[in-house]
């Protein structure tokens, strides 16, 4: 049985197709959208034409965007993601050294559930383990590889340490204060560094990095830049 389609008795529907195709000027679009708010007939009419217009892009000849375009877009996206993270950070840093010491288990768990990699330890083909770390401030990415009980930190996108200071690596066992190591380092121009962690990693709960005076400190004097949770 035929169902009579809706009709526009006052001619108000004449712009529906043009609107659906994007063929109204800015001013006409604003007027029509205001009209849509009050006209159920036009809304119904539009809803019927929308899927047809939405199918039109499939008629465009398929093309691949240039690879350089993604790189350009991702540079902006990653920079903005870092900015947003920095903007959200002060509240966390104000809680200070003591408060952040255990890497927040919930945050870490959420990250790794999303990533789908269990607790984040990857066993590589050569038998070494890679443990992703958590950047807390001033770095983009950190991970530690463990090879026969010896750890090596690889960090990327890290700021230079403040004037007159160096980064220092600390190891911390569960329930104890961080122990100093003699691993002091700065980063390359591109913000990367490759740092051996002295001593065995067995029994270490997490590895941390702070900035300290040249020569290092016996106890941390600043909040950490990143942490690699070992267990």
């Amino acid at each position: 049985m035929d169902v009579n389609p809706p009709t526009h008795t006052d001619g108000c529907g004449s712009d529906v197709a043009a609107y659906a195709l994007g063929a109204l000027t800015g001013e006409e679009t604003r007027r029509f959208e205001a009209h849509l708010e009050t006209c159920e007939l036009c809304r119904t009419d539009l809803a019927g034409l929308r899927p047809v217009v939405d199918a039109l892009p499939a008629a465009a000849e398929p093309m691949e965007p240039p690879a350089a375009l993604k790189k350009k877009i991702m540079r902006v996206v990653e920079a903005e993601a870092r900015d947003r993270e920095r903007a959200a950070r002060p509240a966390r840093e104000k809680r200070g050294w003591f408060a952040w010491r255990p890497v927040p288990a919930l945050v870490a768990a959420c990250l790794f559930v999303v990533a789908g990699v269990g607790i984040g330890v990857a066993v590589l083909n050569d038998g070494t383990e890679e443990i992703p770390g958590q950047c807390i401030r001033g770095c983009d990415r950190v991970a530690m590889t463990i090879d026969e009980g010896h750890g090596t930190i690889e960090v990327a996108g890290m700021d230079q340490p403040p004037e007159g200071r160096v980064y220092q690596v600390w190891t911390q066992r569960f329930g104890e204060d961080p122990r100093p190591t003699d691993a002091l380092f700065t980063v390359d121009k591109d913000g990367s560094a490759h740092v051996d962690v002295p001593g065995e990693t067995g029994g270490v709960d997490q590895v941390l990095v702070t900035d300290e005076p040249r020569g290092g400190s016996s106890a941390p004097t600043t909040a950490p830049y990143f942490a690699v949770k070992m267990s």
């Binding site: 197709a17 063929a23 965007p65 993604k70 996206v77 993601a81 789908g116």
Partner: protein
Amino acid sequence: MAPFRRSAQDKADAALRHLADEELMDLVSSSDAAAFSVIYDRHSAAAYSLAYRMVGRKNQADDVVQEAFLSLWRAGGRYDVKRGSLRTWVLGIVHNRAIDALRRATVHDSRRASDEGIEERFEAGDRTDLEAYRRGEAGEVRAALGHLPEDQLKVIELAYFGGFTHSEIAEMLNTPLGTVKGRMRLGLEKLRGVLGEGAAEAWT
């Protein structure tokens, strides 16, 4: 520095690639650049194809796609799956940005300067090339367009892909505005009949 060990990162990326668009957009709304990267990989070819079809120049298509995806990144939290697929949302942004680009005075001036080529460029003169298109849906939509009478096809292509307003089209074709509007409606209704409403939705 030695190349960063990618194994854990690769696994994380692989896990992201298994997520549905709306799950990825939840992550994008909390500034997850890796989730955005997967969204880009999924939809950038369709976006670029539409942008290039509309603006006709690679550097402008680059600009349109960049603007559209950055807008998606910045407004990710506003995406609502109940209002349609992410693909439709992305292509809607691309369409609007391409229209903006086309309607900027300088672009339109240059198009006006070569009006003779406009109809050739936007009418479906390459309908016989259906086999050349890789995707079945592209072929079906183009075949459906091929069912339209020439005058209806012309106004739909000039409007949707050309970014011209109905008044501009009326002037260009030396046809009354009411006739142009009527052809747009008749053309869309005929397309709906050929594609079928369900089929049309499946492409979006």
